[in-house]
């Protein structure tokens, strides 16, 4: 009988966080391949629709139609997908990470890092799309898919990148907070959170309407510009990330 208990060096703190990134992205089909494939399909459908519209509006309606397309929300899907991805990643990887002997702190840091990296990757991809859109004159049709109003329209590439990055972070970390509530308190907690968030939203809208402050809001947004406005999104994103960690810190793997 040989006794050879291998005493391996303890893992370093960065590797304990990095392995969570690898856990969440273990199947790249979900995190990378599928979102781009769906976005590609949506793009193709949009392109075909532009073809139909432009063939029918004639020369006089062309400018109008092209302007209208700038408000297209087709690319919005990918942001919602990222919100769902964040929810899934946290809800389903958390119990496995704990079973593997990870701490909640490492898991939260690793999940946060995963989302920052994915946000960067998707922001780069979308910016490349925007650059191509610009270079090809709207994909040969004057269409707008990537350079819509919400994402800054005509911006230099580095600002475009920043705008996308902020939007992606916002959606990832909004997903994080809902996922953390679910892991901690299950469906009941989630319903309560939706109720509270809904009430708060209605309250804010009522307040702004009654005090006739909407103009102030629009002016502030106009004043900040697209880049300034999306940069403000970093605040709720950071708050969500922190709250998410505080919730997970006391969460268990029950049921």
């Amino acid at each position: 009988m040989t006794t050879m208990t291998a005493v391996s060096a303890p893992r370093s703190a960065p590797s304990r966080v990095w392995r969570i990134v690898r856990l969440i992205t273990a199947n790249p089909t979900t995190t990378v391949v599928l979102p781009w494939a769906i976005l590609g399909t949506i793009f193709l459908l949009n392109w075909l629709i532009w073809l139909l519209i432009f063939a029918n509006v004639g020369a006089e309606g062309m400018t109008d139609a092209q302007e209208g397309i700038q408000w297209s929300g087709a690319a919005f899907y990918i942001f919602v997908y990222m919100l769902v991805l964040a929810v899934q990643a946290i809800n389903l990887s958390f119990p496995l990470a704990l079973g593997y002997g990870s701490t909640r702190r490492e898991f939260s840091l690793g999940a946060g890092l995963t989302f920052v990296l994915l946000a960067a990757m998707y922001a780069v991809g979308m910016t490349v799309g925007a650059a191509l859109e610009n270079a090809t004159g709207g994909w040969g049709l004057g269409g707008t898919f990537f350079r819509t109003i919400y994402f800054g329209g005509d911006q230099p590439w580095y600002l475009q990148l920043w705008i996308y990055f902020c939007w992606f972070l916002f959606f990832f970390f909004t997903g994080t907070i809902f996922a953390s509530v679910y892991v901690r308190w299950k469906a009941l907690g989630l319903i309560a959170t939706f109720a509270v968030v809904g009430l708060a939203a209605v309250g804010v809208i009522a307040l702004l309407t009654l005090s006739e402050s909407w103009n102030m809001v629009w002016e502030t947004i106009a004043h900040l510009g697209v880049v300034g406005s999306v940069s403000v999104l970093l605040i709720p994103s950071a708050v969500s990330a922190l709250l998410g960690y505080l919730l997970l810190r006391r969460a268990t793997t029950r049921g």
Binding site: A9, R22, N27, P95, G99
Partner: protein, 303 residues
């Protein structure tokens, strides 16, 4: 001998109200020695999984103290890096196939043995390309067993590892565990209610019932600790009148009583009284102890 796990006055209850409060673990105190195979035995819902979740920092204790490798395990990376606990009801990410489990696990276990894992996959015939959600109960258990064995974690928990496994796979698990344990000693906690199957593996036994630790003893000690005394009713009753009886049954004029802690003199006395002695298996002992006060000891006596 050093204790890997030390627990004192440990309780875990859910729910706030006094009436609806569930006591999953109540005032548990025990120690688990290093490099042994410990059995955590008990009925379904007795508190086995909760206890293991407490030991691995997955649950938070209501009161009491837990020391694993000398430290509190909760959020303690130093401790948890040496622990593997794939529970019976382990959930996996929806998009995970078996190969994703096998690819991610090594990053969490410093002593992970890749070749051993591959060998186990082959032996347990686990389809590596299949989605975790599509696995049968037995295949799911097999994945947990493979991770548990190949992790070589200094403290490894197996939570009802045989669920859904066929007899061949169960035997394979027991044999592999023993063989690998001999080469790579580590502390193993095996939770189970199939006691007879694993009784030969176990060196130390904890029996938990309704959240309380009711037996904490070495397996060898337990195996000899109780004896069935069988014979004519009158003789059995006379013999057991001043002894500790765990369980009684009777059929017609014959009676049988499970007597605790019968020493050599007692055995001789029983034989002299014309009674027969029969060994009590670990499983029988646990069953008779856990049925406890809920069954009237005279119930086995037909009138």
């Amino acid at each position: 001998m050093t204790a890997v796990v030390e627990v004192a006055g440990l309780s875990k209850h859910y729910g706030g109200e006094r009436g609806s409060r569930v006591h999953a673990v109540t005032d548990a105190g025990f120690a688990l020695e290093e490099n042994r195979i410990h059995g955590l035995l008990g009925r379904n819902g007795a508190g086995k999984t909760t206890l293991m979740q407490l030991l691995t920092g997955q649950e938070f204790a209501s009161s009491g103290e837990i020391r694993v490798f000398g430290q509190n395990p909760v959020e303690n990376a130093k401790v948890l890096d040496r622990v593997c606990f794939i529970k019976e009801s382990q959930r996996y990410p929806d998009d995970f196939r078996v190969k994703h489990v096998l690819a991610t696990a090594p990053r969490f276990f410093a002593d992970w043995d890749e070749d051993f894992a591959d060998e186990l996959v082959e032996r347990f015939r686990v389809p590596v390309g299949r989605r975790m959600k599509k696995l049968s109960r037995g295949q799911l258990s097999a994945v947990g067993v493979i991770v548990g064995l190949a992790s070589r974690a200094p403290l490894t928990f197996f939570d009802e590892p045989y669920l859904g496994l066929d007899a061949v796979a169960r035997r394979l698990f027991y044999d592999t565990l023993l063989a690998d344990f001999a080469e790579h000693p580590r502390t193993v906690v095996l939770s189970t209610h199939l006691i007879d199957e694993v009784s030969n593996l176990l060196e130390h036994v904890l029996v938990i019932d309704e959240g309380r630790i009711i037996i904490d003893a070495d397996a060898d000690e337990l195996r000899g600790s109780a004896v069935d005394v069988v014979g004519p009713r009158g003789a059995v009753e006379a013999f057991t009148s001043d002894r500790e009886v765990l369980h009684r049954t009777g059929l017609g004029g014959l009676a049988s009583a499970t007597v605790a802690g019968l020493d050599e003199a007692g055995r001789t006395a029983a034989r002299d009284a014309g009674l027969e002695l029969a060994a009590v298996s670990l499983q029988q002992l646990v069953i008779r102890t856990t049925i406890g006060e809920s069954v009237d000891p005279t119930k086995g006596t037909p009138e």
